[in-house]
């Protein structure tokens, strides 16, 4: 008996003991980075993951891209003064601070994307994947990294420049790099991308050589390096893009990634978590949205933003076909009464469920390239050369050709053209900043809007040079002593 007990005991010990593997319990429902980045499929998935950050970036991009400008405004909610409302109003009224969740959100989303790009770019050259895959996937990744940094440098000025994957706590904090250094990195990445990427991708939605050239065009325009901008943008015109015949068709979900689209953030409705919902954010806040979207639901807590301003509505020339494709004057309520409450109908597409839409976000499109090229040429004092590009866009809008060749006058015309052509597409604020018009235009606009809306406090729309960029998030400064804040915040 005694022996049996001992044997049992020994067996029990051996069954569980001394096996080192007993303590190795790797996760089963997710993988860890040490086991990832092996195969070509891994790299493909990592690149898709980098693209995914674009979805974070574009969810609320209208707040800084459009509401900060004279293009859009919001429906004031007297009875809902929650922080998420006030903080968007603050951005619109130039009274935002460094704790603003919308300006912070963009900063964080860009860096999440950059971190994913860095993880790929650190490894891809040492990997065993094919040269073609290396070139294409690496090119896409470099484009994305350049794109994210370009967002950052335009919106925040000097920013920390991470070009390697962060793997340790010590590596997480960097000081801000001068804008010039950031631009050098952006240009390097975008140029590499342009050379590595094919003109056409097998899968629609991936960035192409055209996307990279367009990005380069924007970068050089922002740096006022017009010669290089002209080269890049003219290259874009050789890559087979063309305007959609009908303006409103550009934004139909049936025409995703159409011939005009140069860079488009991809979305898909359904339960897989890749849907979009800006349609519901951009319509008035309603107890039941059925009267606008055909789907029942209550968007009172999140609707009523990015509402066309009185100024934008007035900016359309008579006969401009784009107006009807961009703005609707109101909606008919359940009782059959028309409610005059303008909103954008650009993204009003059929969808299956409330607050779950199929709309992509077009970042760059050919009309944008044409107008940017026109602006470039005009700045290079090649004003007459600019006209064909400008008029191609106007023609589609049903407007007469422009013949003005005075640089100053044409500059105003092109700016207005960009405003209405690209309204609601998050270009207006950066256009105003790039062209040096932001303080002048927004101060004047502020005077007007304050007269119209009594809820606006007197301190709003005090547009100074400090307000041309946004603050570094307050919490970032709290954590990292290496960082400094932009002046005025």
């Amino acid at each position: 008996m005694k022996n049996k007990i001992f044997i049992l005991g020994v067996i029990a010990l051996l069954a569980t003991a001394c096996s080192k593997s007993f303590l190795d319990v790797p996760p089963e429902t997710f993988i860890s980075s040490s086991t990832f980045f092996k195969t070509e499929a891994d790299y493909e998935q990592a690149v898709s993951g980098a693209y995914q950050s674009l979805r974070d970036l574009y969810g609320d991009a209208y707040a800084m891209g459009e509401m900060r400008s004279d293009n859009t405004d919001y429906n004031f909610k007297t009875n809902d003064r929650g922080g998420q409302n006030i903080e968007r109003e603050d951005i619109a009224g130039f009274v935002d601070n460094s704790s603003n969740m919308f300006s912070n959100g963009k900063y964080y989303a860009c860096y999440r994307g950059i971190s994913r790009c860095n993880a790929i770019l650190d490894r891809i050259d040492g990997s065993s994947i094919s040269a073609d895959a290396n070139s294409n996937l690496g090119g896409q990744t470099k484009f994305l990294r350049a794109f994210f940094y370009f967002e950052l440098v335009q919106y925040y000025g000097d920013v920390p420049l991470y070009v390697k994957e962060v793997t340790t706590q010590a590596g997480t904090a960097l000081p801000r790099s001068p804008k010039a250094d950031v631009y050098n990195q952006i240009i390097k990445d975008a140029t590499d991308a342009a050379s590595q990427l094919p003109a056409v991708q097998t899968e629609k939605g991936r960035v192409t050589q055209g996307s990279a050239k367009m990005l380069l065009g924007y970068i050089y325009m922002t740096l006022q390096d017009y010669a290089k901008a002209e080269t890049a943008l003219k290259d874009v015109t050789t890559l087979g893009y063309d305007l959609m015949p009908n303006y409103a068709d550009i934004f139909r979900t049936a025409n995703k990634n159409n011939m005009e689209s140069i860079f488009e953030v991809q979305c898909m409705q359904g339960t897989q978590g890749v849907q979009s919902n800006w349609t519901y954010v951009f319509i008035p806040a309603l107890i039941n949205t059925y009267v606008i979207t055909g789907k029942s639901g209550n968007n009172q807590s999140f609707g009523g933003w990015n509402i066309p301003s009185f100024d934008l509505i007035a900016a359309y020339e008579p006969g401009d076909l784009r107006k009807a494709g961009s703005i609707t004057n109101g909606y008919t309520d359940a009782g059959g009464t028309f409610v005059p409450s303008p909103f954008t109908n650009k993204f009003l597409n059929p969808h299956i469920e409330f607050n779950n839409c199929d709309d992509d976000w077009i970042v760059y499109r050919y009309a944008d390239a044409l107008l940017l090229l026109a602006e470039c040429l005009n700045e290079e004092t090649k004003s007459s050369e600019a006209l064909p590009y400008l008029n191609k866009v106007r023609t589609r809008a049903g407007l007469a050709n422009i013949t003005e060749t005075n640089q100053v006058a044409l500059r105003v015309i092109i700016a207005k053209e960009r405003r209405v052509e690209l309204a609601f597409e998050n270009h207006r604020w950066l256009d105003l900043v790039r062209t040096g018009k932001a303080i002048e235009v927004m101060s004047a606009y502020g005077v007007q809007i304050k007269l119209r809306n009594s809820y606006l406090l007197s301190r709003t729309y005090n547009v100074t040079a400090d307000k041309l960029i946004f603050p570094i998030p307050f919490n970032e400064l709290l954590i990292s002593p290496l960082l400094t804040q932009n002046s005025g915040y």
Binding site: P27, S33, S48, R112, T167, T271, G273, Q300, F474, I479
Partner: protein, 1125 residues
């Protein structure tokens, strides 16, 4: 040879017993079974007795401790006589000759028995009797009242009986039986030598604080006297009548150093237990629960409290270090009921009661008339402020029309609710088989409609003694619980039904005149709301849990005193939650009609533990007592989880997921493993000097690959000062023990896979097809390890007036370091945080436990009192010592130099009552006359800057109590017993975050009555607390000191009055007791919310003392019965 444990007290009793038999001589009986012949022992035993100026009694004790001799004497022998003696290696005869020289006392040695008698009395004589026979008698307490249910056992066997309602017993004893042991809870066990007697009547006395009580400690038991760590044991017999579902509710106020709060009244939930203020940032504060040696992985709340016999709380490191990397928050050892020696016992108990929500603490919201008045005034003030006409909706135009009408939304959700409990237990101990079975059914309807908790539980514990060396046991405890919770608690945007309901317009009806229920409930200017009555009533939120705890062991005595024990423990649990929200239900901003949704969550866990231990205990040289433990254990835990969600239901009729058309699925899986070695040595010299050392070595799958193993050692020592010869032998100071300990424990609740750099799914779309994406979403850390707590404890145990008053004092100091800390990193790195071991908290405190037997006669009155002064301080945090929390919108801050989890916000400084005051004071960008005024604390340069902004927040309250206490008074007189349990907390603050909404000035919610006294104009400034409605409430909604109030409380947790019915010799049952009880009888507090024990963030130490509205804790009235068959 088994030594009879006979102490001073029961020798005297033996004497009393004998005297009752009218014998004028002492009878001494030796057993014929002795190994040595009687005379041999007394001749060969050599003793060392060196005592100076001590009493005869102490000499007797010394001899008894060193040998197997037992002394008998009567009151004519002066045992307090002072003697001195210095004899080594001498026989008992030589020693007694010397000690008793020059006295009138003579002695006689008969085997191991020594009789002392006065020389004028007759010499004792020896009787040897040995045959099967029957013994009967009566057991009574000191007052002469019969004691029912006393265990009477032939010593050293399982043969026994219990006394009946009249205190009588009858037992057949086999030949060779030496003595009978009488035992009863709370009484000193007595061993009476049978001798020639056929009738033995016994008087039991209450145990003097039970120094011989067996205390369950980690991997074994010890007598209380021998324990060198800080261990508090609670026997549940005094707590059986509490009408509560969870054992931790019964423990409230019972144990010094253990803070137990009932944060919410949700049936079956809401208890937060913290031992010695244990706090961690991320790794949890809850203690480790060990049920019959098995560290359980599921919730402790499922366990039927009636199954529990005793609870040991291991507080210091020496007591808990054998649980190593899981012990830093303290360990709670739960022992379930085992079969007891004696005859088969069947007990049935039941109670039924009613729960009601007390009036005090209910939210004081405006009624319909007041609300209409407020809405009217709001618009009138707006019109003046903006200089425009603002129409007043018809609903608000004539407030007086609402007098006596409208809806009290809080009341609408409440009801009087039933509670009932039935428990049937059977214990048997026969033919070496010991069994106990407990069947329980508990059913509690919640006081909020559509809430309920039910539990059906069974426990069967069996132990079989195969032979003298081998013992096996199997315990099996399945239970089934169902609960209906319904999301009652929390803030409105989190869906908390109670907060949402009280903020709903009181002029909106919850039921129409025709009896139908409206879909929505709102009035002009308010947010769209569902009818919260319907939400509460119609939403399905049910969980069913099945849990089986089982263990089996064998215990084999390899050689004498060397035991090998091996156990296999298994735990299986599964919890399935069904959720269904019909189209008629909804949320704020999302009222019906809305889409119908349903989900099923299945959370299953399995855990097994194998433990193999060797223990050896022995005594060397008569005085060196030691026991040794060595063991090896392995445990594994697996936890699959599935969540299924569906929507797109055609209607509300079919609530199951098959009616949905759109689905979402989530699956998760968690696993951990733990390998451990344990070792311990306990040593004592003469039961006077105690030393103990223990160690556990844990290897855990949770720790980073560079840091897999950890060692957790401890040492402790004790000194029984009162047993020293120099200690004055007075009845005033009867017992004194000092003890000290130091040790390390760990906290491994750091997540199962935290050290891995996780690559998560980050999907995208190409070509309108989902493209699987993957990204590293967290920073890994292969150095990640457990948190370590180093703890020092000094204890003192003091018995006064023959131990009738017993005081235990502990001072502890502990430092938790290497805390699992989610260090925020700049998000520009791509990550928001990294898990590291960093930071340091320090805890220290004083714990006093006092037990006083105030009356021990016919009227018995015992008071147990405990009080704990606990403090803590944050010593270190992340690399920059950056505080946790403390942003301007965060109500809590944990910062270096302060206690953990301080309340944080602006300092309320009244209202800008007029323009002059406004101009003179600092203000915020949104400030105006009539708005809230905060103090200008600081600015970007560290000095007040005249601007109210983010820099002006500071600590505004301390949620850590200065002391917590508990008082239990137990009284009994004849057949009546009364038990009153009080627990309380002093000096802690609570932030009533509900006020952000219930005093919101945007006129979008119903508000508290005092909002009527708000600022309306410089001429009508109100009470100086509530700002104007004109500008809304931008700044008034941030955390500020006006929401902080004193959370001290004293709660009479339970009052039970019982009566034992005076039946005699009933054919049906032995004993019947009826009682009535009030749970949560009285709450004394200045706190303005519903429950001063509230904690909306559960047991989190970092965010404690915050009230976001919780389920009310009801007052419960019950009537119950206990029947013994």
């Amino acid at each position: 040879m088994k030594k009879l444990v006979v102490n001073h007290g029961n020798i005297k009793l033996s004497y009393q017993l004998l005297r009752k038999m009218k014998l004028t001589i002492l009878l001494l009986i030796t057993s014929v079974l002795s190994c040595f012949s009687a005379e041999t022992y007394s001749q060969i035993t050599k003793l060392n007795v060196v005592e100076n100026n001590t009493t005869l009694l102490n000499i007797i004790r010394t001899i008894e401790n060193q040998s197997e001799f037992n002394f008998f004497y009567n009151e004519k022998v002066n045992i307090d006589r002072t003697v001195s003696i210095d004899m080594t290696n001498k026989s008992i005869y030589e020693i007694l000759d010397k000690v008793l020289a020059n006295s009138t006392v003579k002695y006689k040695v008969i085997g191991r028995q020594i009789a002392l008698y006065d020389k004028n009395e007759m010499e004792p004589f020896l009787l040897e009797v040995d045959q099967d026979r029957n013994i009967s008698g009566k057991v009574a307490d000191k007052s002469g009242a019969p004691l029912a249910g006393v265990n009477v056992v032939v010593t050293g066997t399982t043969q026994g009986t219990v006394t009946d309602i009249t205190g009588n017993y009858s037992i057949d004893i086999p030949s060779g039986s030496k003595s009978l042991t009488f035992s009863f809870v709370g009484m000193v066990p007595q061993e009476i030598i049978i001798g020639p007697l056929t009738q033995i009547n016994v008087t039991m006395v209450e145990s003097a604080i039970g120094l011989n009580e067996v205390v369950v400690v980690g991997y074994g038991t010890q007598t209380k006297k021998d324990v060198t760590g800080s261990v508090s044991q609670v026997k549940t017999d005094k707590l059986t009548d509490f009408p509560v579902s969870q054992f931790s509710q019964k423990l409230q106020g019972q144990v010094a150093g253990v803070q137990i709060n009932q944060a919410t009244g949700i049936p079956g939930q809401g208890m937060n237990v913290r031992i010695r203020g244990a706090a961690s940032i991320n790794a949890g504060n809850e203690p480790l629960y060990v049920v019959d040696g098995f560290p359980i992985t599921g919730t402790i709340n499922d366990i039927n409290p009636d199954e529990i016999e005793s609870i040991s709380v291991l507080k210091d490191a020496s007591a808990s270090s054998l649980y190593g990397s899981r012990a830093a928050n303290g360990v709670v050892l739960i022992s379930t009921k085992k079969g007891v020696q004696g005859k088969t016992k069947v007990q049935f108990s039941a109670y039924k009661g009613l729960q009601v929500v007390p009036q005090k603490g209910r939210p004081d919201m405006m009624n319909a008339q007041e609300f209409a008045q407020f809405q009217k005034e709001y618009r009138e003030d707006q019109a003046i402020f903006q200089g425009t006409t603002i129409p007043i909706p018809s609903e608000y135009q004539d407030p007086s029309a609402w007098a006596g009408k409208g809806t009290n939304w809080y009341d609408v959700l409440l009801r009087k609710a039933n509670i009932e409990n039935y428990s049937l237990s059977l214990t048997a101990n026969k033919d070496n088989l010991m069994t106990s079975a407990i069947l329980g059914y508990f059913n509690q309807d919640g006081v909020v409609i559509n809430t309920n908790f039910k539990r059906l539980s069974l426990r069967i514990n069996t132990e079989y003694k195969i032979n003298d060396k081998l013992k096996v046991g199997i315990n099996l405890a399945p239970n089934l619980t169902t609960d209906i919770t319904n999301g009652t608690d929390g803030v409105l945007w989190g869906g908390g039904i109670i907060q949402n309901a009280i903020l709903t317009s009181p002029i909106a009806p919850y039921i129409n005149d025709d009896g139908t229920l409206p879909l929505t409930a709102t009035s002009p200017g308010l947010f769209p709301n569902p009818n919260w009555y319907r939400v509460a009533k119609e939403r399905t939120w049910n969980s069913k849990s099945v849990r089986v705890l089982t263990n089996a062991f064998i215990d084999y005595e390899i050689i004498k005193n060397l035991h090998f024990r091996s156990s296999i423990n298994g735990e299986f649990g599964t919890r399935k939650t069904n959720f269904f929200i019909p189209s008629t239900s909804g949320y704020i901003f999302d009222p019906p009609p809305r889409r119908t949704e349903a989900s099923i969550t299945t959370n299953t866990y399995y855990s097994w533990l194998n433990e193999n231990t060797l223990t050896y205990a022995n005594t060397i040289g008569g005085k060196h007592n030691f026991d040794v433990l060595a063991g090896y254990t392995a445990q594994q835990y697996k936890n699959p989880y599935e969540y299924m969600y569906g929507r797109g239901f055609p209607n509300d009729q079919i609530k199951t997921l098959n009616a949905a058309t759109v689905y979402n699925l989530t699956e998760d899986y968690n696993e951990w493993t733990l390998l451990s070695f344990v070792g311990r040595v306990n040593y004592n010299f003469n039961r006077k000097y105690f030393l103990s050392a223990a160690i556990r070595r844990d290897g855990s799958s949770r720790f980073g690959s560079n840091n897999k193993w950890g060692n957790f050692p401890s040492v402790s020592a004790g000194w029984l000062v009162s047993d020293e010869s120099f200690f004055p032998q007075t009845t005033a100071l009867s017992y004194l023990k000092l003890r000290a300990s130091y040790g390390l424990t760990g906290n491994n609740n750091i997540g199962n896979y935290t050290y891995y750099a996780a690559v998560a799914n980050t999907n995208y779309v190409f070509n309108s097809v989902l493209s699987s994406g993957k990204s590293t979403t967290s920073l890994g850390n292969t150095d990640l390890g457990w948190e370590t707590t180093a703890q020092t404890d000094f204890g003192l145990e003091l018995g006064l007036i023959k131990d009738r008053i017993f005081l235990t004092y502990d001072y502890y100091q502990k430092t938790t370091s290497d805390m699992l800390y989610q260090v925020n990193v700049p998000q520009s790195s791509g990550y928001s945080s990294i898990y590291t071991n960093i930071g340091e908290f320090k805890f220290w405190g004083h714990e006093f436990t006092l037990t006083s037997k105030n009356f021990i006669g016919e009227l018995k009155w015992t008071t147990d009192f405990n009080i704990t002064f606990a403090k803590n301080k944050v010593m270190k945090l992340g690399t920059q010592n950056a505080p946790l929390g403390g942003q301007y919108d965060n109500p809590s801050i944990t910062q270096v130099g302060s206690p953990i989890g301080m309340l944080h916000g602006f300092v309320f400084d009244g209202i800008y009552e007029n323009q002059a005051e406004f101009d003179a004071a600092p203000h915020h960008a949104t400030s105006a006359v009539g708005t809230v005024r905060y103090k200008d604390i600081s600015g970007p340069n560290g000095a007040p800057d005249g601007i109210i902004d983010n820099y002006d927040t500071q600590i505004i309250g301390n949620p850590n109590p200065k002391f917590i206490f508990g008082i239990t008074n137990s009284l009994s007189y004849k057949n009546i017993d009364l038990n009153v349990v009080i627990s309380g907390s002093y000096g802690n603050d609570i932030m009533n975050r509900t006020l952000e909404y219930t005093q919101n000035l945007d006129a979008v919610f119903n508000v508290t009555k005092d909002v009527a006294k708000r600022w309306r104009s410089p001429e009508n400034p109100g009470d100086g607390l509530h700002p104007t409605t004109n500008t809304g409430t931008p700044l008034a909604r941030y955390d500020n000191s006006r929401w902080v109030s004193d959370g001290s409380y004293l709660t009479v947790k339970n009052i039970t009055l019982g009566y034992i019915l005076p039946f005699k010799n009933s054919a049906y049952f032995e004993k019947m007791r009826i009682y009535c009880s009030i749970q949560q009888a009285l709450v004394l507090t200045k706190y303005n919310g519903a429950n001063p024990e509230v904690s909306s963030n559960g047991s989190s130490a970092l965010y404690q003392g915050i009230d976001f509205t919780a389920y009310p804790v009801p007052r419960t009235f019950t009537f119950g019965v206990n029947l013994n068959f």
